[in-house]
């Protein structure tokens, strides 16, 4: 259970990225966070694991107050939150297995990690995860030799090897093609169900969000403007989140086809429903 109350972030430049965010996320819930670029989605999830320092407010994971932690305690808190990144954020020159095992870094000491002497259970678990995502054939390949979808699977395995209580997912599909995007979203969804994990997923693609999330939160200019069930997300609400746009020509969520009308495609510059890899 993750609870944010009154969280705000103001950058030293004076830009307000977040104002007064209140949010409660029960275990096992997959929450999609939508909103235009610059609305503060990335800042919000980075505040949770303190890659970005929130300026005020409190963030509780179970019973731990995350905003007050430092040093050793912060490392311990971070390892219980797995993070999945937009550009996969793998270390290109390390092998797939090394990348997955780096999920254990919060648990092992420096010299063990330096000599790559991981505990046997960790290696067994890493291999099992690679089996689960179908990448055992690539254990010794370098991360930069993989395709986008495969890299994202490695990124997911790394996050899960932390045995997290919570997944923070930052634009997981933004660099992937439509088919792979759906596969990755489905995989995240299944893994969350298997392990009863809560997840916050930043996502540009409203159609994918509606299809795969239990709950949708809309963010605009650092404030929550919508919080509810995917079915409640109407075009009026999309307008409040993203601004004026002809939302009704948005294809149905289940529909993978792109509209053939060139006039429509041209107007989709800001339309998240179409923009697989949008906002880039």
């Amino acid at each position: 259970m993750l609870t944010l109350s009154g969280v705000a972030k103001r950058y030293p430049t004076g830009d307000r990225a977040l104002t007064d965010i209140d949010l409660t996320l029960p275990n096992g819930q997959v929450m999609a966070l939508i909103g235009p670029s610059g609305a503060g989605k990335s800042t919000l999830i980075r505040c949770v694991n303190r890659l970005v320092e929130p300026t005020q407010g409190s963030i509780l994971l179970e019973d731990t107050e995350l905003t007050k932690l430092s040093g050793h305690k912060l490392r311990h808190a971070r390892r219980s939150m797995g993070m999945i990144f937009q550009e996969y954020a793998l270390v290109d020159r390390l092998s797939v297995m090394e990348n997955v095992l780096s999920g254990q870094l919060g648990y092992v000491g420096f010299w063990r990690s330096f000599l790559r002497r991981y505990p046997q259970e960790a290696v067994v678990e890493a291999f099992r995860l690679l089996e689960r995502v179908g990448l055992t054939h690539a254990i010794d390949k370098r991360a930069d030799a993989l395709s986008g979808g495969q890299r994202q699977r490695v990124g997911i395995s790394r996050a899960l090897l932390q045995s997290p209580k919570l997944l923070l997912v930052d634009e997981p599909t933004a660099s992937l093609d439509p088919k792979t995007s759906r596969q990755i979203m489905r995989l995240i969804r299944e893994l969350c169900a298997e392990r009863d994990l809560a997840a916050i997923i930043n996502i540009h693609d409203v159609a994918l969000a509606k299809q795969f999330a239990d709950r949708i939160v809309g963010l605009r200019a650092g404030e929550i403007v919508f919080d509810g069930d995917p079915s409640e997300l109407t075009s009026e609400i999309l307008t409040t989140i993203y601004g004026e746009e002809d939302w009704d020509t948005t294809p149905e969520p289940m529909d993978d086809e792109v509209s053939d009308d060139p006039r429509d495609t041209a107007s989709y510059g800001a339309a998240p429903a179409m923009a697989v890899g949008g906002g880039q």
Binding site: R75, M81, M83, F85, L90, V91, R93, Q104, F110, Q162
Partner: protein
């Protein structure tokens, strides 16, 4: 705007505005006068009689250098070995010291801005002072010999390797570093997993490049007593044995060419 209108009402295009044009003339004038001033200072300090004599002196020098006394090469193997050792051991020592300095000097890995400034001071002082000056200092402290040469080369290499390496560290992708921090890794683990793999190729390339430069530098360290082939060079010049000097030159030329070839090969293979 470089486009103006002529009296006839026709637009005229010029590359620069009149003002910019004048400023440019002025800059050239200032540069030119500075050059002439410097030239005058040098020519005042020059004995032009000797310079006029240069052609004859050069011809004389060449006639004395040829034919080279090839037999002298047998004496040179040990000094050449010393020279190679000075360059190689010095580079190794320099790299070992430069490595932590570079991490302290890079903006994204330094623990504290004050430590960063200190590391930058180390890099700048090491870079500004030529290895020959380092050798002069060390010879007065450690006494003449190969050891002074090795340390001189090492001290000069810190700055070079440190500067290029910390620039490489500052240019790495930040996202893998962020991802490794997000797993709860400690500072050292983040360096080891997020930063090090990204800068390793650059580091190897820079080191080999510096080794190649150091071979060239170590050939002259002997002039101030820091060991290697420079000692023989100094002795031969002092005794005006120019036919020996030419043998030394040929040897240096060959060694430097080979080391440059090796260095280029290795760097090509890494990148």
């Amino acid at each position: 705007m470089p486009v103006s209108t002529s009296p006839l009402g026709q637009p005229i295009w010029r590359r620069r505005t009149t003002r910019a044009q004048w400023l440019q003339y002025l800059a050239w004038l200032a540069g030119g006068s500075l050059f002439l001033l410097c030239w005058k200072l040098i020519s005042d300090n020059t004995m032009w009689v000797f310079v006029e004599d240069a052609g004859r002196q050069g011809a004389d020098l060449i006639s004395r250098m040829t034919p080279p006394e090839w037999g002298y090469a047998n004496v040179l193997w040990k000094p050449m070995w010393d020279t190679l050792n000075i360059a190689t051991l010095g580079t190794a020592l320099g790299i070992i010291m430069a490595f932590p300095v570079a991490f302290l000097a890079a903006r994204n890995t330094t623990p504290h801005p004050l430590i960063r400034s200190a590391a930058l001071v180390v890099i700048v002082s090491s870079r500004s002072i030529n290895s020959l000056i380092w050798a002069m200092l060390l010879v007065t402290i450690l006494g003449p010999g190969v050891l002074a040469g090795i340390i001189a080369i090492a001290l000069r290499s810190i700055g070079f390797v440190g500067k290029l390496l910390y620039e490489a560290i500052e240019e790495i992708h930040p996202t893998p570093v962020e991802a490794i921090s997000a797993t709860g890794a400690s500072r050292m683990q983040v360096m080891n997993y997020g930063v090090l793999p990204q800068v390793m190729p650059a580091f190897a390339g820079i080191s080999v490049y510096r080794w190649d430069i150091n071979i060239r530098e170590s050939t002259v360290l002997g002039l101030v007593g820091a060991g290697g082939i420079g000692l023989q060079l100094n002795a031969s010049i002092n005794s005006l044995a120019w036919d020996q000097v030419s043998v030394i030159f040929v040897m240096i030329f060959a060694t430097v060419l080979v080391s440059e070839g090796i260095s280029a090969r290795v760097r090509h293979a890494i990148i």
